[in-house]
């Protein structure tokens, strides 16, 4: 019995390290920092725009501490995400979106006041490009004057707010935790609007992003 435990537990626990770290201890490979996405003036009035961002990750040998220890670091390990930003539209149609009143006159690099950033936060969609079905990157496609987000893998469809329209996804697109700062830029964290799970007991989505 004890011999059996000595022989099985270490190798099994060894290969299950990621489960122990993520599900039991609740650790994440992605750093919790805010990452700049882009300036409000870059978001067009009538369609969503995609931005590429990178979150530093500390997975296995990509860990910062290990690279510092060895002195060997030929790359910064990151996970690249695409973010779709659009102005919220009450009908879900991109042409009928309602940008804040100051957005029209905003130029690249302009600062905004605190009340303006609050207003922008209310009217902004900050969506993950990862399809809620099986994680393929969605793209904005314009058909017959209207547009929708289409997933190339299995045809999931979302409107310009990222809400579910059709296809296999069980829900709308994932929304980032975001804030609009007074330099006029949008910042996101690697966090999404999902039901929080209990580490080690219940499950949560998304798992792959």
């Amino acid at each position: 019995m004890i011999t059996g435990a000595i022989l099985t537990i270490p190798p099994v626990a060894f290969i299950l390290t990621p489960i122990i770290k993520t599900d039991v201890l609740g650790d994440s490979d992605v750093s919790e920092q805010w990452v700049k996405v882009g300036h409000l003036s870059e978001i067009p009035k009538d369609e969503p725009k995609d931005f590429t961002i990178q979150f530093p990750i500390t997975q296995s040998y990509g860990s910062k501490g290990i690279q510092k220890e060895s002195g060997v670091s030929n790359s910064d390990y990151t996970v690249r995400n695409a973010v779709w930003m659009s102005w919220r539209s009450p009908t879900g149609k991109a042409q009928e979106s309602e940008p804040p009143s100051f957005a029209e006159s905003l130029k690249a690099g302009d600062s905004i006041s605190q009340s303006q950033s609050k207003e922008a936060e209310k009217k902004l969609n900050v969506l993950s490009s990862s399809c809620a079905h099986l994680g393929c990157p969605v793209r904005w496609l314009i058909t017959e004057g209207e547009g929708e987000f289409l997933c190339p893998c299995h045809g999931g469809l979302y409107d310009s707010n990222g809400d579910y329209v059709g296809g296999p996804p069980p829900r709308g697109m994932y929304r980032y935790t975001y804030e609009v700062r007074q330099d006029g830029n949008v910042y996101v964290k690697h966090e999404f609007n999902i039901k929080p799970g209990i580490p080690g007991i219940s499950t949560q989505q998304p798992y792959v992003i």
Binding site: I19, Y77, V79, L134, G135
Partner: protein
Amino acid sequence: MIGRIRTQTSEASKLIVDWMEHRTGIVTMLEHFLYEPVPKRGAWIYTLGSAVLGLISLQFLTGILLLFYYVPTTTEAWNSVYYIMNDAVFGQLIRGLHYWSANFLMAAIGLHMAQVFFSGGYKAPRELNWLVGVILLLLVVGLSFTGYLLRWDQDGFWASVVGIKIGSYSPFVGSYITHFLLGGDVIGPATLSRFFAIHVWLLPATIAPFIGIHLYLLRRHGVFGSDFEYTERLTKLHEQQRLEEYAGYELDEDGQSDRE
């Protein structure tokens, strides 16, 4: 002169063979392994299993060769595959063989299973060999899945994301499966490392003994379709048909209402 050399060599080789046979029994073993009576009827269809075995052997051999140049890290994986395809001598051939025999392997397995299924080759006493075959199928599917990511190109990357996310829908254990495969909570260097380990060591090492068991069970019961077994089953079938026919007549005699 030449005649003498010929007799001498043949005597010497006979001596070596006898010596080996005496100590290892290798000649009887080879005879036992190589000579197996197969049914005359539809002989070609019985080569499907051998085709699968041949393709898997090819996978092992070309896979070992690819390991000489492949580097399983996020920064170098794609570059090393590019090197194999463009700079390594016969690299395109070796990787092409690995790629295409993997594709044909799936097709050959499908045909092999269909042949066994439609000929009823899974019936007693060969049920366990069918089960072992299904385990082999699942292992090959696992090998195809993990091998796809190792290229670390857009195709393999997104196919693996989709595959891993399919696993995430499993009830209760979804997040465990996902985090086990990812090696963390996002796809990254750990994912490639473990897919490499699973593809190159874990699954091949698991599949080898199961192939052994599959072949052992095949040899123990022989290929289904020998004249004896076949005619026996046909007789049984005819017997059953006759009985059903008689049962029909008897019903007719009792059930007068049918006639009038």
